[in-house]
Amino acid sequence: MDEKVLSTEFEELLSSRGVTRRGFLQLCGTIAAATGLAHITVPDVAHAIEDSVIGAAEGNLFPVIWIEGASCTGCTEAFAQIDEPDPATVVLEMISCNYNETLSFAAGHSVEEAKAQTIKQCAGKYVLVYEGALLEGWDGWALRVAEETGVNAFLEAAENAFGVVALGSCAVNGGWMGSKKTPAGAIGCQALMAKHGITTPVINIPGCPANPEWLVAVLVDVVMMGVLPELNIDNKPALIFEQAIHENCQRRGHFENGEFVYKFGSEEEKMGFCLYAMGCRGPQTKANCGIVRYNRRRSWCVEAGSPCIGCCEANPMDSSHNWVDVNASFHERHRDLRIGNWVVQPRTIGLAAIGIVTAAVIIHGFGMKASKRLDGAIRFESQREWDAKHPNEAIGYYGADRTIIHEDGTKEVISAEEFEERVQADYESTLKKLGAAAASAVAGGVKAAEEATEATAEEAQAETVEPVEEAETEVVEAPEETEAEAVEAAEEAEDAVEEENEESKGGQE
């Protein structure tokens, strides 16, 4: 292409669009004149500091280094979606984001220099946001940036930071790369820092991606209040990650009514029924997704029709406890019960719901419509309080025989009383088994709790294999006096019975 030719063509272009060349040039100046302005293209103030590429080391903005490790850039992308404040306000008026591989105007050695200068000139005064996993595979060379391993780049920046924000499940514990199937050797920020004796405070913000509202909430804490937010035992912001998604779910009412979606894209979905039967991990995943929502509060997973896949599940000290390995297959009912980093297959619904998660039982027990799918799963009240007062309008049912379908497919009909007894027995034996773990978790902190839990869980697993046949409840069918719609729903349900999973170390406070 001939440049000279095009130059003339541009004049034609202008005239063809009704703009005179002269008018255009008067407004914007000639190319030569424009390039002549180059000597003032950097703010004068930047020159006040000799050889600085970051400008002033201090000012109104809180210095931030944002490093991407083995990332998909999804957490940066998510950050780009926020409003109030929007990302431009954040990087122009809240923080001085001196290094960010996606937003930085600089590239190559220039951007590395900006990082090095920030670490040196702002030591102890900047926040490090780390996105993506750290990879220890092949001595750290699984991730190579600017002739350095990702691990070393992180450690240097972390050591000198005011605080480290591990942004997204990958940064918290390796995320999907924590799967044993890949040799990349993923590890989270907190675990890696512990290995290297770095004591800079860590704030873990899981999620895939992390909701940008969570990051900005933390930044506001740090930037405007000069403090780190209150953290839970996993170093996750307590107010954000204390409650299960299920607790604040907009479809929760349908759960309690026993109204479930059993097929994607169905009429039930259109009516916004509960996705628990489709494998929703909301009951065991702790985050406030349903409150903050995503994409400028436009929607969130469950609202759009998808069961939660538990992407906030991340144990900072254990990469194998990553959300993919813990939660897949996502659309199958979750049957695993996790205690610390131990996974057991509960043999009974009752065991899971009653024995382990007392707190969750409280959550779920209230107002539960005793449809046959749920009946017996929750050992909370033998009769709903409201039902007792309004026998003619009761929405629960009581006293009917129960049909238990065992794992081998055989059915057994037992009386309501006997059912209650069995469930009660389960409840008590489970409490006994788990009592030691719970007690030491409260008394002895994480480490002790994990060890105790592990040991107890092992025991518990071994013991559940004992023939407690009545406990193998898959479906509890009710007789026909149950409401018609509940009967209909139950026929579709294979095993939509309540079960809960909970880490013993969570929720101890």
Partner: protein, 551 residues
């Protein structure tokens, strides 16, 4: 000879290193290398196709919808599903929203910083800038004076934030060429674009639950079922985006061209293209997609896509020597990594070299547009012919085969997608009005093989999987950037991006801004470019380091 390096390349997805030999101010040779290994294909083994659609998205936070879509199509082919019409439309809308998000973000927030200097905008006359915007026919939604005051306040504080270490002074201050008024306008649009790309992702959030990493795409259709309250939001957001895109993006591009017209002279690359096609029409035929499938050989000769001709070569990559020189990923997908040493005469990249009919190919927006042009898609033909005429070079489609051409082509595509979004919303409303309430279909088999040909915003995307009893036994992915950043192929020909760099003027080896412009014109996305399907000899990776010993 001088060595010039950009590592890390910023404003892309992932980790990328560019190394160049510069001779007499021009790049004489170039090597492109991806820097991160994660192992996605391994993680997908033994999972269900539905889980694969969820997990595979995590390859890339910029184009997760495309990966979910490609994985879902592969799963549907393997399990014998044709998705319902409603699901087709909703998935087009999801993909379209991602294209809009991605292209807007890429042009204004990732690529434009190679051309626009916001600090220079401080010197502008806001009144003149407004007049200039009117003259250039571009939108003026921002209070330019207020923006200038905001920037001044920022500059006076002295901390440079995202401008730290900028290249505004590259090439002795000659690198950035816009007059202050145009810098001010483009800075205003940089900020507006941040809002608009987020609006586009709101559509993804509406239909997909959240973005990035949507939740409702599943083999069989969609989990999302529209209600009235969702439809009106969708309709409104789509219109808002169209209004902004149609009044801003192509106009800004044309305003920039005169100042950087030199970039129409280089950066062409291999000038052969692949496009697998994207946005399904009711026929579900690849060649009928709204942006159709096709391969353009030398001289832009158009051919239909033949999966058997897609092969990968590993002779210049860190993999074990192989008896088979060119492997088909579907039938012979087998990858055994083996690091030796960084030697441009031998092996020097993690990235394999994909080829079509034995030749390297460029993927991306330009590829799609050229194929659509050759296939006679009316909107594209009209827009490209119109643009070339406006530039005074009617019919000279070769003008687009350059750094600036590749950069500009995406704005035409953005306009096309914004237009289609409006059509799809109308189509969806019609379908629902007509009583169609089907959104999801069950598998007809649990064992089979399937390939999902699709397009991410940055180019041709290929997922192929083998499924047995509902579980994946083999999974291979070829993503767009693998095509583009490929090392030398079996015949020694440099990869597309390497070829595009050769001949690029570099007057400043410290800050090779033209090379950066060329790399950004591909919109690279490297996180997904390096992946393997089988662990092997891992201990050999330990010597992965930079062998160049230069900055």
């Amino acid at each position: 000879m001088t060595r010039s390096t950009i590592d890390p390349v910023t404003r892309i997805e992932g980790h990328l290193r560019i190394e160049m030999e510069v001779e007499n101010g021009v790049v004489a040779d170039a090597w492109v290398s991806g820097g991160c290994f994660r192992g996605m294909e391994l993680v997908l083994e033994d999972r269900t196709p539905a889980d694969a659609a969820m997990i595979a998205q995590r390859i890339c936070g910029v184009c997760p919808v495309s990966h979910a879509q490609s994985a879902s199509i592969a799963g549907e082919k393997a399990m014998g599903i044709t998705i319902p019409n409603n699901a087709r439309i909703i998935r087009n809308l999801l993909e379209g929203a991602q294209f809009l998000h991605s292209h807007i973000l890429w042009f204004y927030n990732l690529a434009a910083p190679d051309y626009v200097n916001p600090i220079n905008a401080l010197k502008a006359s806001a009144a003149d800038a407004h007049d200039l915007a009117v003259a250039a026919g571009t939108s003026t939604n921002t209070d330019l004076k207020a923006l200038q005051e905001r920037l001044t306040k920022f500059a006076n504080n002295g901390q440079l934030s995202i401008f730290s270490g900028n290249w505004f002074d590259s090439e002795g201050g000659q690198g950035y060429k816009l007059p202050p008024e145009l810098d001010l306008i483009c800075t205003a649009h940089y900020l507006e674009a941040l809002t608009m790309q987020a609006k586009a992702s709101e559509i993804s959030g509406l239909l997909g639950g959240k973005m990035p990493h949507i939740m409702t795409m599943v083999p069989g259709g969609t989990m999302f079922v529209p209600t009235e309250e969702k439809l009106d939001d969708l309709w409104s957001l789509v219109n808002e985006l169209y209004d902004w895109v149609s009044s801003t993006m192509v106009q800004d591009t044309i305003a920039l061209v005169p100042f950087y017209k030199d970039a129409l002279n280089w950066g062409g690359g291999c000038k052969r293209y692949v496009a697998w096609g994207v946005f399904e029409d009711a026929s579900f035929e690849m060649n009928n997609r709204y942006l159709p499938a096709g391969v353009l050989k030398d001289g832009l000769a158009l051919e239909d896509v033949n999966e058997d001709l897609i092969k990968e070569y590993t002779g210049h990559s860190w993999y074990e020597p192989d008896d088979v020189e060119l492997r088909n990923p579907r039938d012979e997908g087998l990858t055994k990594p083996l690091y030796t040493e960084y030697n441009v005469e031998d092996r020097y990249s993690w990235c394999k070299s994909p080829s079509y009919d034995g030749q390297c190919m460029e993927a991306g927006g330009l590829s799609r547009l050229l194929v659509a042009y050759k296939r006679g898609v009316p909107f594209i033909v009209e827009q490209i012919d119109g643009l070339l005429a406006t530039l005074g070079v009617p019919g000279r489609i070769d003008v687009l085969q350059s750094t600036l051409g590749r950069t500009g082509a995406r704005q035409i595509e953005t306009l096309y997608v914004a237009t289609l979004m409006k059509e799809w919303v109308a189509e969806l409303i019609e379908a629902l009005k007509g009583g169609d309430s089907e959104f999801f279909r069950d598998p007809t088999t649990t064992t089979g093989d399937g390939t999902g040909f699709w397009e991410a915003p940055r180019g041709a995307l290929y997922h192929t999987e083998h499924v047995k009893d509902g579980r994946i036994t083999g999974y291979q992915i070829i993503i767009p950037t693998t095509w583009n950043i490929a090392p030398r192929g079996h015949d020694g020909e440099p990869g597309p991006m390497e070829q595009s760099l050769i001949g690029v003027p570099v007057n400043d080896v410290e800050k090779p801004i033209n090379a950066l412009r060329t790399v950004h014109s591909f919109d690279p996305c490297t996180a997904c470019a390096v992946h393997i399907s089988e662990p092997s000899t891992g201990k050999h990776f330990e010597t992965v380091t930079n062998p160049w010993g230069v900055k």
